[in-house]
Subunit: 323 residues, 6 copies
């Protein structure tokens, strides 16, 4: 039974992933473990009372555990009172990837899509810069999310975000023929790549914190520097390097969101809107999936605090072009 | 020779369209005609001195004229000193459409594209509302521009704007499968339709002024009202009517630009970005067409006062899907 | 004894109105009712422990109940620990209107004031539009508040707000003679009328939630549409209809508060200020009534987070002209 | 014939007031007088060529002159080419007050209205402070305008502004009975009184410049200081003094317009709105008087750059209560 | 052991200062004291259960007490469960100044630095005004903090802030030779002096609340008034008085922070930046003292919600010029 | 006679520097040179009529010329009607540096001050980075201004700005002992160094335009990249490099002015304020030097559109520490 279906009074005997684990002391001076348990459907707080010292060592974040307990309500939130807990064993046949939200496509498949776009580039300088930077981030791309809390905060989310934007960009470039496709695709691939330097993602693919360099400079500036460096290393034309740096610098569009310059080339303008569309379609889809037809959602912080409305109108879904 | 190629000292013997014509009195008490002459490439001021009373009557705005004169520079701007001027005659074989900037496609052809999208709609209520509103604006759609000064301020510009957004929307709906296509296409077709009630366009397809109703309400509110009315007339489902009204109301996205509500459905969100992309690609293309490779343009007011950069990189143009 | 006078330790045996009632489960797995009890003086939280299933059914929101219990302090707030609770009986001789805050005047009397102003209108078109719209809302006007949380959030508050603004508008029209009184009075009467479509008010006259249409359009747009429709139905002059729509559209004055246009006629300008004055005098009066002379109030959210000061100066109250 | 009726080609023989007079040198090294001529209906630029040195001395600002000349158009503005000019003589029987816009009521009569309100005050401290401050400004009140360019920029405009606000405040205090009338009337009388210290008004009642103190402090701060000082001199209660200072300090309502504090008493809140209403009704009336029915005005800078609309609807004017 | 070192489970037998003391009633109807205990290192909440009526009288805010209890964790915060408590006795040899954070220098010594600057002033008017105002605040300067929560919220903090700014101003006046030192030093000394009228500081030097006058006017306006008054009393030149008033009025630089005017003299401009530098260096130093090398701090509200970074680089501290 | 002293009617026979030279055609089809003539005191427009083709070639921007002509007034501005003009000859003994505004100190002397600070740095990594970057810009530092229009827009202005900030920073580091001097001095030296890459300065030391890279990235981003690159080349510690990049990135303080991050270390905070103080003291000094005692200046665009006031108070000037 998924965490999102738990209700007060339920007896639980399930596997969960520990997202965090802290040992605390109660007001009557007893030690207990204050746990955050997750599965693909959500997360719930758990209390394991009267824990022993060795248990504190054992039950660390990112461990898979089996838990027996009962669901209670405390201050209007659900909480799992844990009676028994143990580390998952090989014979349990459970794996971390069963417990954390993951992009709906295989990372390797998405990674190949990106390379298809790189291979099709006709400007050799752009191709070399992008190829070199993507290769250097290959390992992180297999699991990094696209953001800490907002859109695509899932395993492989960054890759999924890039891949979808490429497909959308390919479509719009058919309509707006004056666009330089090499520039557009390069901008899409590179725009958020330095998030892997700005944030630290633990083995379970969720951002745990920002790096010091990420805090003092930010992924936009880190990205600009890295393009500059890479372009010099591959001996690229200076205008090509400048245009790519400019696109990354400008893709947040306004200073308040980190872009000191607005796009001064059409490919940069389009990059910004493709980024917005992809983030918003993802976030809205996620919210509406949890909203009943005819109902309004709660206010959503990542959507400028808007409520969304799920219409009764039947959605005519079309299969995505990749499927 | 196009107006954009004139330089001081040139002798001119050409046809032009009069965009405006005002009779003024000089400091030595002589009457003269102060004219704005246009062709497809630009506009230039002209002075016709010592004009007679009957000439003031004859040379009105929107007339085609033949002019003989010389180009001079006055206060760093070019000016045409007109020696002779007459109304164009049938045997001159010139027509207004040769003198004013026009969308690159035939209005009837673009109008058919819109109807293709209407015919493909599966929700009968949406189809009825859109069909009725489009029919009622058919005449204006043949020549209305999409704006007074910004993007698509050309004959047939509104139709061109709608058509291009539909094609782009069709593409993105392939990528973002959860989108209701009927809603999206309806929103695109209706979003600016009431500009024909907000502004007055003269026979030459350029906005001359706002209507009183346009000033006191604005095309967004006018559009919402008209959808409400039309939906009642065709007996449409109330949610369908509400969703279409909401999309038009929210398509400018922020209150400062006239939308009291932000989009609360994904189709409304996408409508906003398609609108922005189409306007920006048009405006940027127009500016860059007049900018030399390696140069920066002047600041462009309609692009938030940005300069644009025309790269040396060869643009790989692709033919548009309609061609 | 009113709720505002309760203090920790008091034994209570009183009638209250249930504003809300939720069944919860405690950490030791016992069911209890978590109640909000109100009377005219305020509200207090109540806990009724170990409730039976049939009691959960019985004690629903908007019921009048008799309660026996004791007042306790928990986390610095008062709470009523309920020992006994029963539904009020006919022989108890209590009615809902004794338990909820109500405008200080009889709805019927206030409604008559509005009709006096309508009857005095000399422009027949304005009179017909206003009369038709007021009649169609007569039922709701008898109990709707003027807002969900801010000013006049009391039974009949909307009617009270309109009536007071009419009296104030009548006075100012004596000073500013150029004002068209018909327009001004019509604007006052119509400006918030569509709040009855934007929000749902339960039988006890308090707003419980927004309607979907209210969320997607808002009462300003709803009002504009309705005037447009009504004017067509009564065959009114188109300028009259336009002016009334404009006044409603512009009465919040700035886009951030929902008005895409600012008032472009003096009657619209005056409407805005009369609305502000009436809301502010009401809110300030309410805050100062609970502030001791020489003291500052807490920060008041509905007053831009200001504190108010209650002066020692004796207030020279004058009787209102209606009394 | 009033200046507002002049058109190119008119021959003029009229008296005017010189608002400004500057001697300039033309490009062919000839001296000429560059004059601003005003009457009650407007102002026009005039050029008097080949002026003699003694004429430069003679024709100074604020002189009444008789002028013979012809109206010409230069750079789309009208200009008066002056052939003859002389100082007005006693026997011409013209006076400055015939040539400058003046409040529609006699200063002495308006001044008496203010004293009626002072005499009716029941709080002796408030009465003493207000009486002392008004007496000390009596001379300036006879001619000061209420602003440099905005509302009431006419002779006696400050007095007219105060008087009208008092009458309106008196009306609203009947509706909002909790208002302390003494405070409200005192706030109205004092709120702009220090404009006489902030700006210099020449003998013709138009603001010519700001004082150094006005620039470095501003009339709001100057007013607060003066109330503080006056209250000490008359031995007033300290709370009375504080409340009056606070009302003046807060009457512009927001920091960007010079009020570091928002009103914290209802009388201060009402003062702000009365000030806004009076300024706006004046400015709007002035604009609409020059706008034809069914037309929109130009954008008006002092009205947040709005256009106004003059409706066809017949205005039902009422006589003002003072008449 | 300092409060900052307490951890759950510790047994405590220490002296503390009571910052606040409130008697509350628990859910089982028992009275208890809810205390805030402070020492120089921090503060902690304490609960003293089953207190007697006379104890409520005894243990008031600002008392020094000796406490025996145990540290517990409740809702993730530490809390002191108090078993025994008594008032500190003379023989305990503890004094309030041992328990509250204090400026690192002796108030009398800092006060002398201020007088050194006053004595060196060459403009007699400025010297007289400053000397009179400083003398009148001598008592408060011995303990007032510079702010309620932000920078220098310590005993003697206001004096420390003034003194450090004077020393920094003296240095910069060497670099920027055009600065009038008398004006600059006077501005520094006077700029925040009226905080002693705006806020009430209890005997332990911490701001407990704002005065009514402080709320209705604010220390900037209070300061301007007092300079005006003092200048008149000492017969100072009116420009001198105006310049000092202007400097105090403008020192917050922008309207949103309380300055209706920006500095219009260089000394006022420099005063603003010296104020900012001194506040920021103090706040940043305090945050970094609690941050480990290589770590980021939490977000700091008084620093525009920034995080700070403590570098590994060894700080090369220099002794301050006064030491 | 300096340009600032010219008045209409003056006969002129002087040397000037040509800042710009454009050949135009008059309305009667005659060619003329439209010149901007400068000396150290200001600039004036000049017209040289009926110029020959070879003269157009000869009189180019940045040439020194000798001119004979007469000063006229045209549209209220002075203009020099040139009768004779020739290129300055060696025997005229005039040099460009006599005609353009220059920093008051010798570039070589200021450059030495900078090296004194570099030599005193104790952190070898910081010293190496700064030394390498300064050496690479040595040539440009000899003449670059600090800005295009604002502060220090004079020959050598950038060097003067850096030098003065270093001296001020040295002083404040004595007061605020916790500051790391190496970091602070490095930040000061590097903060604007990339302006030499952002803008092009002609041989006469005035910015003529921005570079393409300057427009697409800006000097802040260019500076960050260059520090990154240089630090790698000299093998500096990565934290040192990061801190310097962060200081440059953050020195404009707010996103709207180009800094995506605010300073997160005290040295960065201080750098920002030293930059502001130096720019403001320079600009204010320049404005007040042209303002009479007791007068207000015009509004100054670079000072947020403020007017300044020049006090009567005698300025007690001190010699600067370097003199």
């Amino acid at each position: 039974m998924g965490i999102n279906l738990l209700k007060a009074g339920d007896n639980v005997l399930e596997f969960f992933l520990l997202k965090s684990s802290v040992c605390r002391t109660s007001s009557n001076n007893k030690k207990y473990l204050d746990l955050t348990l997750v599965d693909k459907t959500g997360e719930v707080n758990g209390k394991y009372w009267d824990c022993k010292t060795e248990e504190v060592e054992t039950f660390q974040a990112h461990q898979l555990v089996k838990v027996q307990g009962v669901v209670q309500e405390w201050q209007q939130r659900l909480q799992l009172k844990i009676n028994k807990i143990r580390i998952a064993l090989p014979e349990d046949n459970v794996s971390i990837s069963d417990f954390i939200p993951t992009a709906s496509e295989d990372p390797q498949a998405m990674y190949k899509v990106i390379w298809r776009f790189i291979h099709e580039m006709t400007n050799e300088d752009i191709k070399k810069i992008v190829a070199k930077m993507v290769k250097s981030k290959e390992e992180q791309l297999m699991f990094y999310p696209a953001a800490k809390e907002n859109h695509h905060a899932i395993i492989g989310g960054l890759l999924y975000h890039i891949k979808t934007m490429l497909l959308a960009g390919e479509k719009l470039a058919e309509i707006y023929g004056g666009i330089n496709k090499d520039l557009l695709y390069a901008g899409i691939i590179l725009h958020d790549l330095s998030k892997t330097d700005e944030m630290k993602a633990g083995p379970i693919g969720l951002i745990t914190e920002y790096t010091v360099e990420g805090q003092l400079l930010g992924h936009i500036i880190q990205g600009v520097r890295e393009i500059d460096q890479t372009a010099k290393e591959v001996g690229a034309d200076s205008e090509v390097s400048l245009l790519l740096q400019h696109m990354v610098l400008a893709h947040h569009y306004v200073p308040e969101y980190g872009s000191p310059k607005r796009p001064m080339i059409p490919e940069g303008e389009l990059l910004h809107y493709l980024d917005m569309i992809d983030a918003r379609m993802y976030d809205m889809g996620k919210v509406l999936a949890n909203t009943a037809p005819g109902e309004l959602s709660d206010r959503v912080w990542t959507l400028d605090n808007r409520k969304l409305y799920r219409a009764h109108l039947e959605s005519k879904k079309e299969s995505s072009p990749e499927e």
